[in-house]
């Protein structure tokens, strides 16, 4: 972490509610973003993640709630007095100004001297690897360059909080992957508290210190990427993050049964009778030999095998009729050796890879 980190501010959101008619865009949301943290709001469209970001930026006025940057209450402050940087989804670069005009805009508003504007703009452009681009017109830039200019404009006035609204969604996949890493490095370098909105779960897992999964205006789970993937707390998170199979679990006394098999598990078993077993396709193995004690074994019949380049996807039907997908890496000629549709297979799932969650909607 860098020295500038001590300038970053924590964000405290308390009981923020925003309704449109009788739809809750934000339903009593509370959230703490630590100083210097990279936190991602992840959710499907209409989940409220963007509304929450707009509340932070001051463009959406909530019905009630509190918002603090550091110790200062911000909820009633107009956006132009909040001093937060923001990268918009469509960049919102002013088309009637040059790159220099755009990046220097916040500095000129703050009455920075001409000379300082020039040096600080150049430094910001250097930071996003666009040194020497100051004289370009916005229309001459490629999508990736626009993205960088927007970023430079949002950091040039050294805000202590940076907000980003799906900034990479307009880029093609290769560029997006590279920008994810670059943004991550930039965050480490500048150290400002960052709130990032995306609907792309891989992006969220790649970039974030912590991820808040949002749905129906509520935060479903707030955790680090790995915990979110390995230990989802509810069915929504389990379903939204990564690929997943669900098997319903029956509970009789201390015995759990799923897919016709008595379950071995090392994870915490939630309260309640209605449980589901979540299986990640890539954690299921095709067993050839006898399994050890720590592995659950499901007998199944292959229904379909799909070739996907770097991996295969095998669909199989368990003895109780439920269907699961299995993913495996393809090396050399392993694909040719896979069982065909109709063939019997044995699927293994380590006890450590079982995830039991309460099976209810929401």
């Amino acid at each position: 972490m860098s020295d500038t980190n001590k300038d970053a501010l924590p964000i405290t959101v308390r009981n923020v509610t925003k309704t449109y008619g009788n739809v809750y865009a934000l339903d009593d949301v509370s959230l703490d973003v630590k100083s210097g943290e990279f936190l991602t709001l992840l959710g499907p469209s209409g989940s409220g993640k963007t509304t929450l970001l707009m509340v932070l930026a001051g463009f959406t006025r909530p019905d009630c709630g509190s918002l603090k940057f550091g110790d200062e209450e911000m909820i009633r402050k107009p956006p132009h007095l909040r001093d937060v940087g923001m990268v918009f989804q469509n960049y919102a670069l002013f088309p009637h100004m040059t790159v220099e005009g755009n990046v220097g805009y916040p500095l000129r508003l703050r009455g920075v001297s001409k000379q300082d504007v020039a040096t600080r703009v150049e430094r910001a452009l250097d930071t996003v690897q666009l040194g020497g681009y100051g004289g370009r017109r916005i229309t001459e830039l490629s999508g990736g360059q626009k993205q960088r200019v927007a970023l430079a404009r949002s950091i040039v006035f050294e805000p202590r909080i940076l907000l980003m609204d799906e900034p990479l969604s307009a880029l093609d996949k290769k560029l997006r992957d590279r920008m994810q890493i670059e943004l991550r490095h930039l965050h480490e370098q500048l150290g400002m508290t960052t709130v990032y909105v995306t609907h792309d779960q891989r992006e969220a897992l790649t970039m974030s210190d912590r991820v808040a999964v949002v749905n129906h205006g509520r935060i479903m789970q707030l955790a680090g990427p790995q915990e979110l993937y390995d230990r989802p707390e509810n069915k929504f998170v389990a379903d939204f993050i990564g690929d997943s199979n669900f098997l319903s679990v029956t509970r009789e006394g201390g015995t759990l049964t799923a897919g016709g098999v008595k379950l071995r598990t090392s994870c915490n078993v939630p309260e309640g009778d209605s449980l589901a077993l979540m299986l990640r396709p890539e954690r299921i193995h095709l067993l050839e030999d006898a399994a050890d004690d720590e592995t659950n074994v499901f007998d199944a019949t292959v229904t379909e095998v799909v070739y996907q380049g770097e991996s295969f996807l095998l669909y199989a039907k368990l003895s109780d009729g439920s269907e699961v997908a299995v993913r495996g890496a393809i090396r050399a000629d392993t694909f040719a050796g896979l069982p065909r549709a109709g063939a019997p297979v044995r699927l293994g799932l380590a006890a450590a890879d079982t995830v039991l969650i309460a099976d209810r909607e929401g």
Binding site: A57, G58, F59, P78, P79, H80, L81, R82, D83, V84, G85, M86, F88, N90, A92, L93, F94, P95, H96, Y105, P106, L109, R110, R153, S154, F157
Partner: protein, 294 residues
């Protein structure tokens, strides 16, 4: 080589046929332009160089230079056009801004209100102003009975009446392109300005206004050029006291039956209009004028 030009001749022929058909579709319009624009203007040009005795002469143009009244007419025409354009901007820009900020349904209603008079006959609207603005008209009578002023104001048959009528007629030409340009401004630009620290006033002047100027310029130019050749409204509401080029052309024909003099005036007016448009095009991106700039 042998395999590369399979069907090349036939494909080229198809291409030629397609172009020919497209040209065929455009020909009625081209013919119309030729008959009602190119030929009459050419004839006008020709007539302006024919003297009273029927031979080639520059007397129609010499008269314009010699007589002071002509210079004054051109001066009045430009003054009235500039004043009308200026007033249209003062009234039209804030209205267009207001409309652009309304929810779409209300904005459409306002647009309808702007367009409704536009669809009413020009003559009807002009005479309506005559009725409203005259000495014993509605406006004067009401104002006096309300005590706003004591003596009837002279609001018609002079410059005032001319301007009121012309501004009213011309306003939609300014509002429509301005409103169009304003609607095309992404609201995120203003959010971005605000986020970067601009107060609403600063955001307006540094972002919204510059982005709306292509529409404003296009509208202003249209109003100005239309004003240069405007006849009906200034003729009726000016009451003969405000004489524009168009009115002089009419009197040359109707009173003096001097087609040569009228044509020469027409040619000079056309030339001036072209110069105005040419100068404007030097400063404006004509692409932006049609809304293609964004």
């Amino acid at each position: 080589m042998a395999t590369t030009d399979i069907n090349a001749g036939g494909l080229r022929q198809d291409e030629r046929m397609e172009r020919l058909k497209l040209f065929g579709l455009a020909s009625p319009a081209l013919l119309l332009v030729l008959v009602i624009l190119v030929i009459p203007v050419g004839w006008l040009f020709y007539v302006s160089f024919v003297g009273a005795d029927g031979s080639f002469s520059l007397e129609n143009y010499e008269r314009m230079i010699e007589r002071k009244s002509y210079a004054r007419i051109f001066q009045t025409t430009f003054e009235v056009s500039i004043l009308t354009t200026g007033l249209c901007i003062l009234i039209g820009y804030p209205l267009a801004y207001f409309m652009s900020q309304l929810p779409q349904r209300l904005a459409n209603l306002c647009l309808l209100a702007v367009l409704l008079p536009f669809w009413t006959s020009l003559l009807v609207r002009t005479y309506a102003w005559l009725v409203l603005l005259q000495k014993q008209g509605l406006v004067n009578n009401w104002a006096i009975s309300l005590g706003l002023w004591d003596e009837p104001l002279k609001m018609v048959h002079n410059l005032n009446g001319t301007l009121i009528g012309m501004v009213h007629i011309m306003l939609p030409f300014l509002i429509l392109p301005t409103y169009g340009a304003m609607k095309a401004i992404d609201r995120d630009y203003l959010k971005a300005a605000s986020n970067l620290g601009a107060s609403p006033r600063r955001a307006f002047w540094t972002v919204f206004f510059p982005l709306s100027t292509p529409g404003l310029f296009a509208g202003s130019l249209m109003v100005f050029v239309l004003c240069l050749g405007f006849f009906v409204t200034p003729a009726i509401l000016g009451g003969g006291r405000v004489i524009l080029v168009s009115m002089k052309i009419v009197s040359n024909i109707e009173l003096f039956v001097n087609w040569g003099a009228a044509s020469a005036l027409g040619v000079v007016l056309l030339a001036m209009t072209i110069v105005v448009l040419w100068v404007a095009s030097r400063f404006l991106n004509l692409d932006q004028m049609t809304g293609g700039g964004h």
